[in-house]
Subunit: 227 residues, 4 copies
């Protein structure tokens, strides 16, 4: 299993049709190509129904978009960490702004990921919430102001103080956690700005998934990380 | 795609380890064997991460355990009907007592299943709720008293009035919907009792998944349906 | 306690500041005045923190806006039917589109209201959901298309087929339940149109609460009901 | 309005019948008597429907058990901070283990309380969650292991490491926040043990509400705080 590594690009496929079924596999292969060519860590987070097919098709890390805080048992309709891991996932997004969770659930999921030796990427809407998350010691925190998600207005340029404020507050609590930022990231310069503000990478969705040429954009992102 | 047909056995894999990963595929193959040998309709509902592998391995119908009431788009961590269908599902459980839903969500999901030409199996805790569900015109209603689920005490014998009452109330509203019962069903005679009470089959989980020999139990169920 | 009676006007105070604290009591007194002058049944649904003050100030029926499906016990932060009743409520709204509930919860709340001899007013977004609700035998069903709520575009004129369709579907299942409609009702003629479509009254919020002169509007509503 | 003060006893009435309606007022008066006699800060958190009556009857601080993260507007069935404040509350419990909230909601509620100059008492299940909460800068954190709530087994004696661990982790993040502990606290010696472990008081429910003589127990608690 590929270890999480900085700097990182995590591509969230959401439930976009452009990244569903066969198109999920195709997009993941493009991400893998970029990773191979640039040696930058690129992970993909497809929908659960596509996860095993994606994981079989590529060697880059594959994350789930959500897992439920359960043990094996009578939990119809829930998402079991063990199941997701067997299908090939090496981590999961947690608490994305489109799937926000109770505080106890986040704590529990970080523990479950740790027990299963999987990567926990906890999303947070602002710097205060990021600092709160930092106490739970996930592997990765991704700060994303919900109002910028999907807009193409990059958080790293439109709200640099949110990003730098997050880095500051998180580091007071946790020196080790990887910090990503997301929302509106759609060009290499947005990625470069994110790194300059003290993050170790980006969480991105529509900027890649909805792009006419996702490969080129991902490549641009990766190049911006190497500088 | 295999059409829903009465009488029916629907096997819910829940999040049992006995039905996760490779073991999900193995269990589905046993269900397929029973279906082929007896010509009884048997469907399986594996976890989402196992769904595509199961659907590729067998020709019997495969259902999701849950779907979210969304359209394609920015819904991280949600379950999209189109995604589940592409992965090979021909229907989904809705509102299982372990994943109960808001009323509007059930209505929406039944419509989404209809638009996607998929089978909607809506679960209900009692006869009143079953009658309410009947107005939404799903393909299948499965009545399951939550207090009997997983107990091995069969609803069809311990609470026959719940089953017959459900059949009566549902039929006042909806002549066509298939009615299943579930909870505690673990022997052929429980299945026979269920049919005698007016249902068209059973929804079953631990009675099969946790059985020492799931094939033999499923076969017993199917035989009870042919009588 | 004033019995529920047709035709009826139910005024939902929501969490509007115009109907919070002392202003809740003032608005309830205006509703009482209209009820006394016209002999039309008018009930008010203030916020919970205002409920006892409102119930002490007026003799018209006072409803809660929501109750939780619990028994007395260890349920911090929940709303207990017994508590609401002791504070003076004679009923509650259930499943308002701004507080939508799980199907089992609606069933449970209708039963809890019945056991406590309180009035259950279950809201529904469309005619199918209204028919589903009818099977649970509440005292009142209020159909409200969410997209019209707060718009001032009256459901009874903009979507008459939703109202008449609801009446038709509900009556197939339940002859006795009172049917209200709501959303956008803001003039007497909207109320008259609602009655002509087969309803027995209206559920109204901003049309009254946000009006410059709530008394005059409520009076107009009541007059429209007497014709 | 009485300012929050250490050490503190916060009595959560939950939805116990013993603390509903008139009995809520009676219990609050006993709490006030203890506070007056001992000069220890005692606050009560009655059900919302009882809040205004309690607040009118006593001069000790009255808290809500829950508030929703909303502004005034169209939020039927929700609990508005302004409404609760007008009814006499000077604060609220947030995220009690029986009413657990999403992370963003807790952050939002702490801000709403601050804007309304009300006291925020955020509950947490364990020391990690307590540390996370500390970053959000509420006025008070109350750590309560859910498995001990209502048992009469005092957290301060059965799980002293949870309490001292919470104090340690919270203080690394936040020097000012008041730390309470709760769960199973039923005797003065439990309170003394809690203070010795570094807390500034207790959150208590059944230990008082269900006691044969709540006054005597509260008095015992207060005396233990003065030593």
């Amino acid at each position: 299993m590929v270890r999480f590594r900085e700097p990182a690009i995590v591509v969230n496929f959401k439930t976009y049709l452009e990244a569903t079924g066969k198109r999920a596999v195709e997009l993941a292969k493009k991400a893998e190509k970029v990773s191979n060519e640039t040696n930058v860590y690129v992970a993909v987070a497809p929908q659960l129904a596509d996860l095993s097919a994606v994981a079989q098709a590529v060697e880059i890390p594959v994350f789930a978009q959500h897992v439920d805080p359960i043990k094996p048992g009578a939990y119809t309709g829930h998402i079991l960490a063990e199941s997701v891991k067997k299908a090939g996932a090496s981590g999961t997004l947690i608490n994305h702004s489109e799937k926000q969770l109770k505080l106890w659930v986040i704590d529990k999921l970080v523990r479950i990921m740790r027990e299963n030796e999987m990567v926990s990427v906890v999303c947070a809407n602002n710097s205060t919430i990021s600092a709160a998350v930092a106490s739970m010691k996930p592997n990765v925190i991704a700060v994303e102001p919900p109002e910028l998600i999907g807009t193409g207005i990059p958080v790293s340029k439109a709200q640099p103080q949110v990003v730098s404020g997050t880095v500051k507050l998180v580091r007071e609590v946790n020196k080790k956690v990887t910090i990503l930022c997301g929302a509106g990231i759609s060009r290499g310069e947005d990625v470069a700005a994110a790194l300059k503000l003290g993050t170790q990478g980006v969480l991105v969705a529509s900027g890649i998934v909805k792009a006419k040429d996702p490969y080129t954009i991902m490549r641009e992102f990766a190049e911006a990380m190497k500088r």
